[in-house]
Symmetry: C2
Subunit: 454 residues, 2 copies
Amino acid sequence: MKSHGAKRLKLGMSMRGLGYHPAAWRHPAVPADGTLRFDHYLRVAKAAERGKLDMIFFADGLGIRESDMPRGARVRSGYELVELEPMTLLPALAPLTRHIGLVATASTSYNEPFHIARKFASLDIISGGRAGWNVVTSWSTAEAQNFNRDQHYDYETRYDRAKDFVDVVEGLWDSWESDALLYDRKSGHFYDEAKMHVLAHASRHFKVRGPLNVAATPQGRPIIIQAGAAGQGRELAAAHADVIYAGQNTLAEAREFYDDVKARLPGYGRKPDDLKIMPGLRPIVAPTRAEAQAKFDALQDLLDPLVCLSRAYNVLGDLSDFDPDGPVPEPKNAPRMKSFVDRLVQVARERKLSIREFGRYVAGEGGGGHCIIGTAADVADTMQEWFEAGACDGFNITPNQLPGGCEDFVDMVVPELQRRGLFRREYEGTTLRDNLGLKPHVNRYAAARVREGA
Amino acid sequence: MKSHGAKRLKLGMSMRGLGYHPAAWRHPAVPADGTLRFDHYLRVAKAAERGKLDMIFFADGLGIRESDMPRGARVRSGYELVELEPMTLLPALAPLTRHIGLVATASTSYNEPFHIARKFASLDIISGGRAGWNVVTSWSTAEAQNFNRDQHYDYETRYDRAKDFVDVVEGLWDSWESDALLYDRKSGHFYDEAKMHVLAHASRHFKVRGPLNVAATPQGRPIIIQAGAAGQGRELAAAHADVIYAGQNTLAEAREFYDDVKARLPGYGRKPDDLKIMPGLRPIVAPTRAEAQAKFDALQDLLDPLVCLSRAYNVLGDLSDFDPDGPVPEPKNAPRMKSFVDRLVQVARERKLSIREFGRYVAGEGGGGHCIIGTAADVADTMQEWFEAGACDGFNITPNQLPGGCEDFVDMVVPELQRRGLFRREYEGTTLRDNLGLKPHVNRYAAARVREGA
């Protein structure tokens, strides 16, 4: 890849289910049965590609979290309930799209590295170099109970296993050097033995011999993404990730995170540009601010009170011992990441929200991704401000509702970003790696051969 | 589904890699790099659908078996080496095909039932009811070593785990009754709580709570296929399978197998027609017998002697202590299924084959699937004979080379079968289950409610 000219934003579209608002399914412009419909996902993917976005992204969970909900709430929520499995869905989208990156979450706690290496490598080949793996460790009891466990792994074990897991997957992806396959019909040599490598990994969590039964892929290897990144996650990301989906909701926090993570890269022999940081962003956009606000309010008005309460439980754990009209209690054994919980509780304090009101806030603007309600210029202003202040390399859009939230962004905000020179008008390359402006992957064994002067 | 008129053959096309002949990659009409090319698989799938076949099928292995090969053989063989992972490939084929069933192998030894239930259910939805799971237990050391083990599970454990595994998957597929999802925007009820079910499975091998986070699928649940079926496999198949890919190579053996398995069905409350038995068939077909023989000989002439030897090792284990030009020794610790090994060794005795010649025989006509070299009428004669003799419900075609082996069958044999009234001219239904003539799946909880008169 040649230079891309001025530095530009990287953009992803998070397209789990019907969007991130738990009442989305009740909105007349949203297909209520969309989480089980291929055409729903295809429409969103095509819109994102029309907007020249870098990638679509599927968050995922390995079960239905229902145990910590108020009684009756689950049947009123279509959120993260039934949906198509992302690594089955993405290959189906691959031949019907041409440019957009295809990213799925896969858990290191309840998978085997050989399967993950193989599936993402296969997706990378099928899509012509557009696969990305979002590495997560899984934190919920509901998921553990679908995989032979009563409780999920503790924090230390989860990250220790994740580190080993990523090591194995990266090792397997290097099993075959890019020129290992000869296909020499005449001599009868299918491959060059010196360029196929046995990993023979053995660590605390995994013993995996290899080689992988998929060869080098168009991107050299799929892109690695990490979400969240608190504590040990920052080190894991600095060591391995090409992209971080960051969770900071204010400019100050985002800058602190950006500087902290980028400063860790040299410790792993990496340069600041080798890792792209993309905070979540939830734009509700319309031609006027009033229309944007009305759009947001319409969704909030569809919220079921029980579903709001379950959103509060989701952040703070079981609250059935508390008066739902009383103040938000101190977080105790909250199931979610501390920084996420603390930020939300701080808002509850500032705004003096009851538990009910807190649930409504979390379901709405507080749930994930910095929320902006306004015009395309308003959204672009914030994006430009964050980008130019060194708080991010781009954004991961987490729309309230689909397909509308994606189509609005593509039709209104993208042209505004393009006018400002902040975003591409055409894809720069053929692979996700090219478009993200990441350097080519170098196979470890090929690199060693170069170092040894062989 | 209405009656299909006269009873007709069911036909599958096994399309792993470049075909079942280990020299296929050296043939000028075969893309040597096809196992990593989506367009190769797409071409074969479209040909099979043009021929109105019931399904395409991908065998699979979770590693590269190289340890029991003669030195130098592996680099000369492109067979089962690098390839696209089937459950990543099949979803990509789904939106580009309309009728053909999509079947992949997945191992019960190195997977988790929650993942398998979820992925096949998702594929069933994406494909509009065309997914099938071929249940295998995995028997090779190479696979074990990619999944934290030094050796594969012993036979008893493998089948015990397989039985539990299938129980869990079937249970998870019943998590949601077909009318469980209400999507009632007005009342705010997404689903009917009485029709979502927690499995709470706990057995020797698995503890899986559920429910599955995918709802009922177009086929009610995906089709279950079992391959081989010796010993315990026959019971597993009689209890669970919709289809068996059988391995018998003679009419007498096939009839014995057919009668034996069908007789086991009533023990599981099933009828003979609830399970379709499809032996493998490897037709080499051309307008004349001489041309067909020449087609076969051309492939045999491309066989590398070392690759032939490795095919002998594959059947009998390491033979490096024996003279390759001497007779085939008695099988001792042979890695493959006893009936498979015994049949091949019997041929070696009858034809007085040396180890080298035996390898060439296994690589060619002996390797799997009854081999017929001849005209379309010759192939159809055998198929008709087996079918009318009660030896099968159809066949699983295991072509020597792809795409040619599939295209030849579709262009020459299928019209002959259609002329004889033995095969469909149009698909009968929209799902694989419809086309196979299997009865609708009944959700276990819905059935219980009917029984209880609720």
